[in-house]
């Protein structure tokens, strides 16, 4: 056991810190859930890509640096420390890419990964449907063989697709065997959002911005080489993505330790009100515990162990930690917390709204608790 980073990791940290200090935009970019903000964030992805900082853990041939999980964690720490922009590419680079690296063909990786890394093609996730949210296996959108036998015809509706209003591509699961039930007969597709028959209807969120969208598929033609993994194996491919979403790659601990550090500073600046002491201490500890847990998991992963249903513990913990950090900050801000100000106080309010989505997306925390109970504790399915 050695809980320090090796000298070469610290050297990498210094390099990342230097680059970020020189390149992170001094003023926050406009919200990525607006057309203008989306393009500003895309340009930032391009800036990172040009100096090989956008996907440091990927193979060199796709735009990465072929670095290990600990270097990725170090980069993330520096990224959040630098208060760098949100990653508009996150659905692609953190969720689809690990799945594609595992299940994709050589041709698919060469075609899709470099533009994803460069921000030229931004991806959204087409999983949930109006009647298939927590019950994801209940999806009804379907794919049938086309008339010429060299592809598929997609019909149906997806919803709550983050980044869906502006994205170029969508990864989604469709039912390819109409007679199969639940987890069987599903297939994982890669779909161009400008294909004929794809209709996008942005959904205003509770903050008024259009972060997510409904996507309608009206006889959309998709060629065979846009199937990821085997036909009919969509559920197991999707679970690899879900593992990334709940486990290590979507939410690096730096996001929470950075926010918890700011919370401790806010508490000090407010004179250390005793009524907030316990909540601030808990937020600081939970963020740090998540960081330690991530190092622990990363050690296992670096030794070839898979992350199993423990990923569901993770998802519950980071999402609830995020809500606690931000609600504690709003308590400290007191009567001013509701004001839509720019700068520090407004960031806490924005962060709070964003955090509140966490226990819902990536599989609700109720579903995660079922997974923990059934798969880690062996309790019978209901």
């Amino acid at each position: 056991m050695d809980l320090t980073f090796r000298p070469e990791h610290e050297a990498f940290r210094a390099e990342a810190r230097g680059w970020l200090e020189a390149h992170v935009p001094p003023d926050p970019l406009p919200s990525l859930d607006t057309a203008e903000g989306f393009e500003a964030h895309r340009a930032w992805e391009r800036t990172m890509f040009e100096d090989r900082w956008s996907v440091v853990s990927w193979p060199v041939e796709y735009g990465g640096r072929d670095l290990g999980i600990f270097e990725w964690l170090v980069f993330e720490e520096e990224y959040y420390r630098a208060r760098a922009p949100k990653r508009v590419s996150q659905n692609g680079i953190f969720l689809l890419a690990p799945t594609m690296l595992e299940y994709g063909t050589a041709a698919q990786k060469a075609r899709y990964l470099p533009p994803m890394a460069a921000g030229d093609e931004i991806w959204c996730q087409g999983w949930s449907e109006p009647d298939a949210g927590s019950d994801l296996a209940g999806i009804r959108s379907r794919a049938a063989r086309n008339a010429t036998g060299d592809g598929w015809v997609l019909n149906g509706q997806k919803t709550w697709a983050s980044r869906g209003a502006f994205a170029e591509w969508c990864f989604g699961i469709f039912r390819t065997d109409p007679d199969a039930e639940r987890h069987r007969g599903l297939t994982y597709f890669l779909i161009a959002m400008d294909a004929p028959g794809v209709i996008v209807r942005p959904i205003p969120q509770l903050d008024g911005e259009t972060g997510f969208a409904e996507i309608f598929f009206d006889s959309v033609e998709v060629p065979d080489d846009q199937v990821l993994g085997d036909v009919g194996a969509g559920w197991s491919v999707a679970m690899a993505t879900a593992g990334s979403e709940r486990g290590l790659s979507l939410r690096s601990p730096a996001r929470y330790t950075e926010a918890a550090d700011r919370l401790v500073q806010l508490y000090a600046a407010r004179g250390g009100p005793p009524e907030s002491t316990d909540a601030v201490a808990r937020a600081h500890m939970d963020a740090e515990a998540y960081e330690l847990h991530t190092y622990w998991t990363a050690t296992k992963v670096s030794r070839g162990h898979a992350v199993g249903a423990e990923a569901s513990c993770n998802k519950i913990f980071w999402s609830e930690t995020d809500v606690s950090i931000h609600s504690t900050a709003l308590d400290l801000l007191g009567p001013g917390a509701e004001l839509l100000t720019s700068g520090a106080p407004g960031e806490w309010l924005d962060g709070y709204l964003f955090a509140l989505a966490g226990p819902i997306y990536a599989g609700t925390n109720e579903i995660q608790r079922n997974v923990v109970a059934e798969r880690l504790l062996g309790l019978p399915r209901g």
Binding site: H284, M285, L292, Y295, W296, A298, R369, N370, G378
Partner: protein, 367 residues
């Protein structure tokens, strides 16, 4: 960065688990509670000799002094097992508190003699005279009218050959002594947990028993408090693991409405919450052990964080375990109460979660 245990540490951890599964299972705890004083002494002596054979009490004592020469990183898994088994003997006090403290104070003659007794004679140690509050350590030791010192709630004195005792007065500060049991008068104090051995100890203040005083003693006491917080956190992890496992097993067996109660989401979510709390208290506790082993400047923060998180995790596990067991869990017939009572005791011993949260925050503010 390497957050893993060595093969030796894993083997030691497993070895202790295997031994305690036979020597200290619920039947053994039940027999222990029902035994008379002589019966308890015999059971404790037998278990201690098994633990001593594994090298557990002297695990962190240097090889040159006859120990295993390992560190707190190897010890933490052993302490977890002591917690999981609800071990009645003072392994924490002997292996995690007395042993490293005495080893660090060598070549002081009193420390060397006491350490020899620990290694050569398998001497058991009791510890008392230090309480933890959010202001730091304080001492409950008082001077009695007869001139003897009186320390309440000393842990482990029944089997102890030697007692590590602290006192503090406003003028000269802290003193730490190692006192032979033969010089002490014990006044056992009944406690809720049948495996907790608490006593008020009356002891003479002498220069021959003195290990440290003044500024040096303050540093030793502060380190002892951190060691105790981290070691108690490890016990609480073990207790939480035990209670979650036995409750999950019960929820699979117990049927209501024609189904196992573990198939109901209300029950699942209770247990999942306890499992999640345990999952995140664990690396925090292992980090505290590493900080002890490597004398990190963040040790006090790390030990307090471990104690706060493990106390909360074990308290939640206890609450959930009792609720899911229902009325049967409230009976003496069910094994659960051994682990519940020990959890309620340890989660508040060496500083409760709220006190440690305040210590942690004070450190975070000073960063």
């Amino acid at each position: 960065m390497d957050f893993s245990f060595s093969e030796d540490a894993e083997a030691l951890h497993q070895g202790v688990r295997t031994v305690l599964d036979t020597e200290c299972n619920a039947d053994a705890l039940r027999a222990f509670e029902l035994a008379d004083e002589a019966g308890r002494a015999e059971a404790s002596a037998n278990r201690w000799s098994v633990l001593a054979e594994l090298g557990a009490p002297a695990l962190v004592v240097p090889e040159s002094a006859g120990g295993l020469g390992l560190s707190d990183v190897e010890l933490v898994g052993v302490l977890e097992e002591a917690g999981r088994a609800c071990l009645p003997e003072p392994l924490l006090e002997t292996a995690a508190l007395a042993a490293p403290t005495l080893a660090a104070l060598a070549p002081d003659p009193a420390a060397v003699a006491a350490l020899n007794a620990l290694v050569e004679d398998d001497a058991v140690f009791a510890v008392g005279g230090i309480d933890v509050t959010h202001h730091g350590p304080s001492s409950p030791t008082e001077v009695s009218p007869d001139g003897m010192l009186r320390t309440p709630r000393v842990v482990g004195s029944r089997d102890a050959a030697l007692l590590l005792l602290a006192c503090r007065d406003a003028e000269s500060g802290w003193q730490l002594h190692v006192v032979p049991a033969t010089s002490c008068a014990l006044e056992p104090t009944p406690a809720l947990s049948p495996v907790r051995d608490l006593a008020t100890v009356h002891w003479p203040l002498g220069s021959d028993t003195l290990l440290a005083y003044g500024v040096a003693a303050e540093a030793v006491v502060s380190l002892l408090a951190d060691r105790a917080a981290a070691g108690t956190a490890a016990h609480l992890l073990g207790l939480a693991e035990r209670m979650v496992a036995m409750t999950a097993a019960y929820a699979k067996e117990r049927h209501q409405f024609g189904r196992p109660i573990g198939s109901f989401q209300a029950v699942k979510h209770h247990l999942a919450n306890a499992r999640v709390a345990l999952e995140f208290a664990r690396p925090a506790t292992y980090r505290a052990a590493w900080s002890l082993a490597t004398a990190q400047p963040t040790l006090s923060h790390d030990a307090s964080m471990a104690k706060a998180m493990a106390s909360d995790a074990a308290d939640l596990a206890a609450r959930v375990a009792l609720q899911v067991h229902g009325a049967i869990g409230y009976t003496w017939e069910c094994d659960l109460h051994f682990y519940l009572k020990q959890t309620w005791a340890l989660s508040r011993s060496w500083g409760d979660a709220a006190a440690h949260r305040r210590i942690v925050l004070a450190h975070a503010l000073a960063r």
